[in-house]
């Protein structure tokens, strides 16, 4: 059988022959991930399973990023549970405090994930690593406990939707706009149980960081994974990030796709997902003028250095409008330091921004930017479900860093090209 990327990677991690979509395959995993919310439950299940050691102490990553720095006693207790487990098991990759960043920005940076890997994580945005050519997917804590104990888990081989993107992107249009547009077209259940495989000349032009942004939101279409081919850029990224042997990886010629979605990148304008679902997507021009109270730039979707540079390019020499809280959260300590050295912080501070620590924070309504009743936020995050960032009566618009920054400046949703 000619394999799609998803099938090809699964085949490498199992002794079974992968012959069709829908088949159940038992696979060995490359890395198992959990965070401060999901690890405590996984640990509970792990103990309940009678497990006494993890399958490989170098292949578990525990990242306490959601409520960091711990926002209250309960969240601190959860982190204590994770820390003690990490110590007891001798887990190499335990991250908390100053070496901790938002997990899906941190792991690629540390070289813990790469092309051809099979990664499972107790976090739905584990699919981010598809940007590097990994088969990476989210699961619940108990599945993750099983994987921590056995080093393997089962998968249903997904059928693949091929997403073919071609054309040159216009100024201020990028990876976030592409993925929002796709989700708007196929819907929040358009990829249910399936793999998305991205390809085309626009994809080849995208930076690895842009690909991570897109793969990150595959789950917002319900997909199991969103995978990019690994090319020269992926290999170069690996060499710069502790992954010297990163390989090139593409689907087999003649692989069978369930369907093909084509996107004309050249025709695309900046997009936003309107409340309260990620598939409620419109060009920003259709909602220009909606008043905002907060702009959040950060998260595992758009908290990387290229995102901060994009926001800074818009904010340079400008100020956030009165009454708008502009919150910038670099996703990892390395990104934080780099942004500082590049002078981006001066631009943000001059614009009146609050610069926070690497944390998930407001993305999931945890802390550091919670919305009151009736408040509206534009955010570079990935979910705008009702109440996700605070009050059930608040509203979140998802956008690129450029749109979020431009909107912060005017105080209303704004196309950066119109500034």
């Amino acid at each position: 059988m000619q394999h799609t990327l998803a099938q090809k990677i699964l085949a490498r991690h199992t002794d079974q022959e992968i012959t069709e979509a829908g088949q159940i395959a038992r696979c060995r995993v490359s890395l198992v991930l959990a965070n401060d919310i999901t690890a405590p439950l996984a640990i509970k299940s792990f103990k309940g399973m009678g497990a006494t050691k993890v399958f490989d102490r170098d292949k578990i990553a525990l990242v306490c990023d959601h409520f960091t720095p711990n926002k209250d006693i309960d969240s601190a207790e959860q982190v204590r549970v994770v820390r003690e487990f990490a110590q007891e098991m001798g887990v190499t990759h335990y991250y908390e405090g100053g070496d901790c960043g938002v997990e899906h920005a941190l792991l690629p940076e540390l070289g813990l994930v790469g092309p051809g890997d099979l990664v499972v994580g107790a976090d739905s945005h584990t699919c981010t690593y598809g940007g590097l050519g990994a088969f990476a997917t989210g699961m619940g804590s108990t599945d993750i406990a099983g994987a921590m104990a056995l080093g393997e888990t089962w998968f249903k081989v997904p059928p693949t939707i091929r997403v073919l993107i071609s054309g040159k992107l216009k100024k201020w249009v990028g990876a976030k706009d592409l993925i929002l547009n796709l989700i708007g077209r196929i819907g929040v259940s358009g990829g249910l149980y399936k793999a998305l495989e991205f390809d085309g000349d626009t994809v080849a032009d995208l930076s690895v960081e842009g690909r991570l942004t897109m793969a990150n939101m595959a789950i917002e279409a319900g997909a199991k994974v969103g995978i990019f081919p690994s090319d020269d850029k992926t290999v170069a990224y690996g060499q710069a990030h502790n992954r010297p042997n990163a390989e090139r990886l593409t689907a087999d010629p003649g692989a069978v796709y369930e369907s093909v979605v084509e996107i004309d990148a050249a025709a695309l304008a900046p997009q936003v997902a309107c409340p309260h679902l990620p598939d409620n997507v419109k060009p920003v021009s259709e909602v220009t003028g909606v008043r905002i109270h907060q702009a959040v730039i950060g998260s595992c979707t758009n908290g990387r250095i290229s995102d901060l540079r994009e926001a800074a390019q818009v904010l340079k020499g400008r100020k956030a409008a009165k009454g708008v809280r502009l919150i910038v959260l670099p996703a990892t300590p390395t990104i934080w330091r780099q942004a500082m050295h590049e002078g981006l912080f001066d631009i943000f501070l001059d614009a009146g921004a609050v610069i926070g620590p690497p944390t998930c924070g407001p993305c999931l309504g945890g802390h550091m930017g919670i919305l009151a009743q009736g408040e509206v936020s534009v955010a570079t995050t990935n979910r705008n479900f009702k109440g996700r960032m605070g009050s059930l009566e608040s509203f979140v618009y998802l956008s690129s860093p450029a749109v979020a920054a431009a909107s912060a400046v005017t105080g209303v949703l704004t196309d950066p090209g119109s500034l």
Binding site: P40, M49, W154, G365, G366, K386
Partner: protein
């Protein structure tokens, strides 16, 4: 196993933030999570539920985050079964691992109204609407889940494998 209860009908794309908002994720306790079940849909929603009641939903129930707290909150709220048009993938897996029974019944979900009395017989694969008399055939649990269900969930399943060294 036969379960009788009142239907609580919700819409499509009910996400895990609606089932249990992130601010309640500072515990793994079933009862505490259950007390805040569906708090992200409507404050105080849980007050309408009596133990044994059945959740009935549109497509893509449980979309969003991987939080296993979602099926646990439903179980903690006393809801043993969810019947829906379709389920989100991670939620589907989590539910079987936790022992929450999911019935994927497609458009048949339209035969159930809010407040209807339902009876589910899992062995026979039958869901009866006692209020309207409608009978809905429930698809068999997929073979891949059967192994887990037979073992009593994922925890006992892995436990057995660790003990036998398989």
């Amino acid at each position: 196993m036969s379960i009788r209860g009142k239907a609580h009908k919700v819409g499509a794309h009910i996400d895990t933030d609606a089932i249990i908002p992130a601010r309640f994720l500072v515990t793994t306790d079933k009862d505490k999570l259950g007390a805040n079940c569906m708090e992200g849909l409507e404050p105080g929603w849980i007050k309408r539920v009596t133990a044994g009641d059945i959740m009935v939903a549109g497509e893509n129930f449980g979309c969003g985050s991987s939080r296993e707290h979602a099926p646990i909150a439903l179980l903690g709220a006393g809801i043993p079964v969810v019947a829906a048009k379709s389920f989100a993938r991670i939620f589907y897996r989590n539910s079987f691992n936790m022992g929450l029974v999911l019935l994927e019944i497609g458009d048949e979900v339209d035969k159930i109204g809010d407040g209807d009395q339902l009876e589910v017989d899992i062995e026979k694969g039958l869901l009866k609407n006692l209020t309207t008399g409608a009978e809905i055939k429930v698809p068999a649990i997929p073979a891949s889940m059967r192994e887990l269900v037979d073992a009593g969930g994922l925890v006992p399943y892995v436990k057995k494998r660790i003990q036998t060294g398989a």
